[in-house]
């Protein structure tokens, strides 16, 4: 049972790291601010979600697991809203130039 959970963790965390890689490649290579912002928020968030899912079998106790899920939800909420704010601010700047 433990080996199965460990395998699940390894697979999930490795895929999470892969999404982080994808997000960073997008951040470096995409042509303009909006696409880069998209790569950063969507891919990095998915990477973090997979990391949290992978870590859930590794923590002791329900409370620790719930705290991990809370971190994930908080990051998802705030990065979704903040990315919209950054995009609108960038569009306002572009319009003025």
């Amino acid at each position: 049972m433990k080996a199965l959970l460990d395998l699940f963790s390894i697979v999930a965390i490795a895929s999470g790291a892969l999404f982080y890689l994808a997000g960073t490649v997008g951040l470096l290579r995409f042509p303009d601010s909006y696409t880069r912002l998209h790569a950063l928020t969507k891919a990095d968030n998915l990477g973090m979600a997979l990391v949290v899912i992978g870590l859930l079998p590794q923590v002791d106790g329900l409370l620790a697991g719930l705290k991990l899920v809370l971190v994930w939800l908080l990051v998802m909420l705030s990065s979704a809203a903040v990315s919209q704010l950054i995009a609108r601010s960038a569009r306002g700047l572009d319009r003025r130039q």
Binding site: L77, A81, L85
Partner: protein
Amino acid sequence: MTTVVTVVIALLLLALAAWTLVARDAFLAVAGFVAYGLLLSLVWVRLYGIDVALTEAAIGGGLTGALLIGAVARLRGTEAAAWSERAGAGAWALAMLLALGVTAVLALCVLALPEPPPTLAPQAVQNMGATGVANPITGVLLAFRALDTLLEAIVLVIALIGVWSLAPDRFWGGRPGLRHRADPDGILAYLARVLPPIGIVVGVYVFWAGADHPGGKFQGATILAAMWLLVQMAGLADSPLTGSRWLRAGVVVGPLVFIAVGLLGLWSAGAFLAYPPDWAKPMIVAVEVALMPTLVLVLALLLNGAPARGGDR
């Protein structure tokens, strides 16, 4: 394997610090500084200083970043003049030599420490039972070295008065800064309605957990202050009237209660800030609860700045 990780983090930090120093645009330098602060909290976690990591994440990452960005916004007009006065190569070389010299002296001192280094940590841990708290940091801050914490709280209040004193006479007692405006149906207002309740719960949790786990009043107060500032930045609430009696009472209640507890200790246990044997935990909790409003108000007001409108004259 852990050394590789540590070396990677150390190199990354050095690169960030260098970038912050040489950045031409002030906005970019502040972005680098915020990144540096957030990354430094990771270093503290690697060094097993979780309480310090909490404080670094809260103050070094969020609050100082917001403070510096506000400063950059105000200094926009003077940036050109500042660049034209930049020091020549000679001054740079001298500054670098001095910095390297100080680093070398520090490194020599650290390497020349006797083995094992003299420390009071074992004695502090041994006597932790008498304080009633399980987190050794809280025990040191509020029982063994309570005088330092009291003086720090008083310094914060004096700093706030110093910032307020920068206001022109006619604005004394008024509201700091301009009224922020944001679309009440927009995303910023939405975030400022959803995030603060969660932030308040997390802040109070971090404060309460400080007794037995990493945490404490300072970190909790920073989170609460950040949530209040968020509400102000979205225009959902105006910045507070600095002449209000409740505000001023809240700012001084922390140090006053702390001093009162100290005098009580003088009367009941023989020394200023001594705690009678079974009363240590309740007195510590009382001091912490009284310091919370002070810290929240002072931190938020320091970021708001000097009063700039309204006032009682």
